[in-house]
């Protein structure tokens, strides 16, 4: 379904050429690196339905755009009730005075058509106070089952124009869906849109599955399954939901797999006796290579986005700490030195930060640090936070939070790298071990 949809999604079509920007004080822009305190007010009037079939989509898609933008914590939607103007024609001039009066700094107008089994969405972004269009109008199209993604694509464009950052709304998350009590958990792999919509299950729940990880293009998922009795690395094709075991070493436990950025190699942990080390397997030849050889536990490896280095956790010092080594193995440098234990490091797609789980004084935290271990910042605190994954733009983290006690349940949360905008990601059942895929 998704591949079919991808093929149908038309590339950007310019629907309007704007006059060359008259000298401006500078484009409307929200700087998210400077720690935004006051979200930018914006308005999204209902999108115009250009034919009768489009009425089923226009309002819903405008709400998805608003949910994406407001959900970042960077933007504040001015409610419809406060609007003075409405937009009844996509082509009509914008009554800027009406939007200025309610202090909308940005205005998003859109229109949807849906005739002939093809949903087309077009939009414009306006800098209300400058009285100008911001960027150019664009349109996207898909089959009806992909209509919701069109709204994410619009929101991505708006986000990129207003922040100057890469967006992340049209992306998916693979995770572990959890049902049943704590001592009889049933775990299934599942995939969903980044906002929790369109959940699809990828495994049956017969075998315990853990920690899925997307390939760089989002087409495959590595995960650990107990299907054969012992934990083994599996790889699953998202398109046809077919999976196979990747048995790097007969009879030994393998787990914690991740793809290399060029998708040619899998790094993972292999347990031999009491010792767990990090190995790499070339996917094409299945040749394996041992990257660490300490008697301690080495696990949770993650590549730098340029593929040159690997961050991992080890208890070689006596407690779990983070280390960085060359991608081919060799001498590792410890980078975590704060109090407590550090695990599950993940290198940011921007290359600048490493996210981790920290355990200290009976509490768990999600945090980030520079790749040399400096400037550690803890973003969350709870009974059990674990397993961060990066949004494709490296600005937001998603992770699992488990509540305390006999009724303890796991849910997904996201948080900005500033520590702001902590919020729950809605899923139909319990959920853990998220892996955020690429922008589609």
């Amino acid at each position: 379904m998704k591949t079919c949809l991808a093929a149908l999604l038309t590339a950007v079509t310019l629907i309007l050429s704007v006059q060359t920007a008259a000298a401006q004080d500078g484009p409307l822009r929200i700087e998210i690196t400077e720690g935004v305190i006051e979200p930018m007010p914006y308005a999204v009037p209902a999108f115009v339905a250009e034919d009768s079939a489009a009425q089923a989509y226009a309002e819903e898609l405008s709400r998805v755009v608003a949910a994406d933008l407001t959900g970042t914590g960077l933007f504040r939607e001015i409610p419809r009730e406060a609007h003075i103007s409405s937009i009844s024609s996509f082509a009509a001039p914008v009554a800027f005075a009406d939007w200025k009066a309610i202090n909308a700094q940005a205005l998003i107008t859109g229109a949807v058509s849906a005739e002939g089994g093809r949903v087309v969405i077009k939009f414009r972004v306006w800098d209300v106070f400058a009285g100008q269009e911001l960027g150019q109008g664009m349109q996207f199209a898909s089959t009806p089952d992909g209509a919701r993604r069109l709204a994410h694509k619009v929101a991505d464009q708006v986000y990129a124009r207003l922040t100057g950052e890469q967006p992340y709304f049209d992306s998916r998350v693979v995770f572990v869906s959890e049902t049943g009590p704590k001592n009889e958990r049933v775990k299934r792999l599942a995939i969903m849109d980044y906002d929790g919509a369109n959940v699809q299950y990828l495994t049956s729940g017969n075998a315990l599955v853990l920690a899925p990880r997307f390939s760089p293009d989002g087409g495959r998922v590595l995960y650990t399954s107990y299907e054969t009795g012992a934990p083994q690395i599996h790889v699953l094709n998202v398109g046809d939901v077919q999976s196979r075991v990747m048995q790097p070493s007969e009879g030994m436990m393998s787990f914690a797999p991740r793809f290399s950025p060029d998708a040619t190699t899998v790094i993972y942990s292999l347990t031999n006796g009491s010792n767990t080390d990090i190995w790499a397997m070339d996917i094409a030849s299945t040749a394996t290579r041992q990257l660490t050889s300490a008697p301690s536990i080495e696990t949770a490896p993650s590549y730098a986005p340029d593929g040159s280095q690997i961050v991992f956790e080890s208890d070689r010092s006596g407690t779990q700490q983070l280390y960085v080594m060359p991608a081919g193995g060799g001498e590792a440098t410890r980078i975590s030195f704060g109090e407590g234990r550090y695990g599950t490091p993940v290198w940011s797609p921007r290359g600048d930060l490493i996210a981790f789980t920290k355990q200290n004084a009976g509490r768990f935290h999600i945090g980030v640090m520079r790749t040399d271990g400096s400037e550690e910042r803890l973003l969350t605190a709870s009974f059990l936070d674990e397993g961060p994954t990066w949004a494709p733009n490296g600005r937001v983290l998603m992770f699992s939070r488990e509540t305390q006690g006999a009724q303890g349940a796991t849910t997904l949360y996201s948080v900005d790298i500033s520590g702001r905008n902590l919020k729950r990601v809605r899923t139909p059942a319990g959920a853990s071990d998220p892996s955020w895929g690429p922008l589609q």
Partner: protein
Amino acid sequence: MTHFSKALLLVAAFGLAACASPSRFDSIDDGANTAARDSNAIIPGSVNDPTSTAYFNQTIGDRVFFVVDQSTLTPQARGTLDAQAQWLMTNSDYLAVIEGHADEQGTREYNIALGARRANAVMEYLISKGVAPNRMKFISYGKERPVEVCSEEACYSKNRRAVTIISSTLTG
């Protein structure tokens, strides 16, 4: 009584039908067992039968417990494992899978590795006491299979465990 003659007795007491049952050790309320009681014999497969899984699990103890983030065997654990080793040496038709577990206070991957350390510590100890390595294997479940669900040390101390699961090669 030799091990072999015990096994013969076991087979005789259960009869052919019971032998075909995949859970013969649980089915102690059939006619064969009544006959066994009448003759004042130990009910085969019951906790009183020293060759039974039930005896191993309950009388000897199928599990040992660990200190937080440790895989060192406590004196109490060694006592249990000494008895497990002796039993396995006596009942040589049984295979053992040792499952290692951790409590929920830890990250998922680390706990899998920690559970492996614990299970391996048990296996190495049993080998040192003479149990043949080829009769045993281990796996780790990390923190995925707690037996107790509260988030307190009372439960954690029961979850930080290695369990010796035995199965008979005769069961087929």
